[in-house]
Amino acid sequence: MQDTVCCGCSVVCDDVAVAVKKTNLQSLGLCRLGHEYCNSVFNKHRLTTALYKDGSGKLGPIPTKDAIQQAKSLLKDNSRPLFIGWSNSTQEAIQIGLQLSKNQKGVFESTASFEYGQILRTKLQDSESEQVRLDDVRDYADHIVYWGVNPAESHHRHASRFSIFPKGKNIPEGRESRVVSVLDVRKTESMGLANHQLILSPTTGDVEFLQALIGELKGTQQPLAEKVGGVPTIEFLSFAKQLREAETIALFYGNGLIHTTHSAQSLPLLKQLKSTLNRGKRRCWTFPMVAYCNTIGSVKASLKSSKLPFSVDFSSNPPKPITSIFKSLTDGQFDCAIITNWDALSLLPGPMAQALSKLPLITFSTLPTLTTKKASIVFPTALMGAETSGTAYRMDGVAIPLKPFKEPPQGVLTEENVLQQILVTL
């Protein structure tokens, strides 16, 4: 068994080990999601040669160096390229991607824009002064809150490694030393582990609940109705009381809170809740539960390069943000796109996917996807973490050096390597 780092989700587990067998992988400590991710190095459908769509419109294999030349020609012939994806790429590949975007005066866009948008920008700017890590949550957080996220399905080892169960410096008894609250619009698996199981009304429950909670904590709350945001008042008051009594609160929030029709109201309220809780000796830390393994890294790299978190238009100097990637794509502002390790055509909203599919696409992927099927040039890539070295940033912004356990198949290069060669030839 050899140590490795899993890039299956944003928890980026670095305490796991694998043994490579002839046709499969044996693992220790990887969750089901992580094991399947790492085991995909043996996927029988894996892409192992570069593909190019010729005049007949069919994708056929070509040598990688020829594909690099074709990519170069495509980028040279087009003046407005879009570089999109990046959350499943190593930090080193992202940096080259940013350089390439800059040189080609294109637009750099990462999945962070669709996932957590401006929150990540604020979060990363906050965290420069805050520097809170998941290890601090394990060591000090005596009240864990999951809001609009179900780690039992999305981040399997989050609770056992950092939040609910582990013992820490000030958490001598692990689970017994913590209060756990889960807020969602339905009964989730994670709720089964919680002291406070709060089911909010799916319409505007979170806004009502947040407003009432801030009022209750400040002592300015008006008399309450029978329910607060769909939660019985007695449960609401009990939750507020335990928040007030906590020393360190770690609040993890997900799509259930931010991807709603009223997020414009709920997100400022969440920020207000955080500052209300951060009083006296009590601390409150908030973490967005990003999905992909290097979403945070893509935002960090982009901020460093352009002072913008994503949606960076390098056609002007200094670079400026594009107002809406949705509008830019559907208005036909781009003439080609590079998509890195992201099945954009399957995951983007219909009109965006449709607009993207009409462009000449250069894609990087380990497996065939809808996006590779529609692409003009496909580069097969080494699986991040399993076959590539480099760095990924965990959801709390901690840099984790990757430990590859296998060489990529013959002829398959890393994304970083291919991007570097394109950059050099251009």
């Binding site: 068994m1 080990a17 400590g29 399997h156 609910i164 689970r175 582990l193």
Partner: protein
């Protein structure tokens, strides 16, 4: 009551209660008792039942198990079990019981410990 307790602890088997089988008046009780103890027969000596098809490999059971914390202390602070000493270990994405005899529920101690069951998100671990 003593016999029922020993039956639940699997110290005795139902067939050892001969009147149940020999006297017709206990037919209904025999059927009911058989139903009650059927799930127990599928469990290990500890009464612990693991459904691997439900397991997501989250490792909650590894971290909460007091035996694991003793034999591999890093597990208590959230690390994956990596030795062969623990009760639970996540292998190939699914938890395995690799040292059942170390479980605190194992005879003769039979402590009423249920932390692994309580920590399981998906009810893959059940204790009968």
């Amino acid at each position: 009551m003593a016999f029922a307790t020993r039956l639940a602890l699997r110290d005795v088997e139902l067939k050892e209660c001969t009147p149940l089988f020999e006297e017709k008046q206990y037919k209904a009780q025999l059927a009911e008792l058989s139903n009650l103890i059927t799930p127990l027969l599928d469990t290990e000596e500890t009464g612990l039942k693991l459904d691997e098809t439900k397991c997501t490999g989250c490792g909650n059971c590894v971290v909460v198990c007091p035996v694991d914390a003793t034999v591999e202390p890093d597990t208590a602070s959230g690390k994956a079990a990596r030795t062969t000493e623990t009760v639970f270990r996540v292998e190939d994405g699914i938890v395995k019981i690799i040292n059942l005899e170390r479980c605190r529920r194992f005879p003769p101690d039979r402590m009423n410990c249920r932390v692994c069951e309580q920590g399981c998100y998906v009810k893959a671990i059940e204790i009968w």
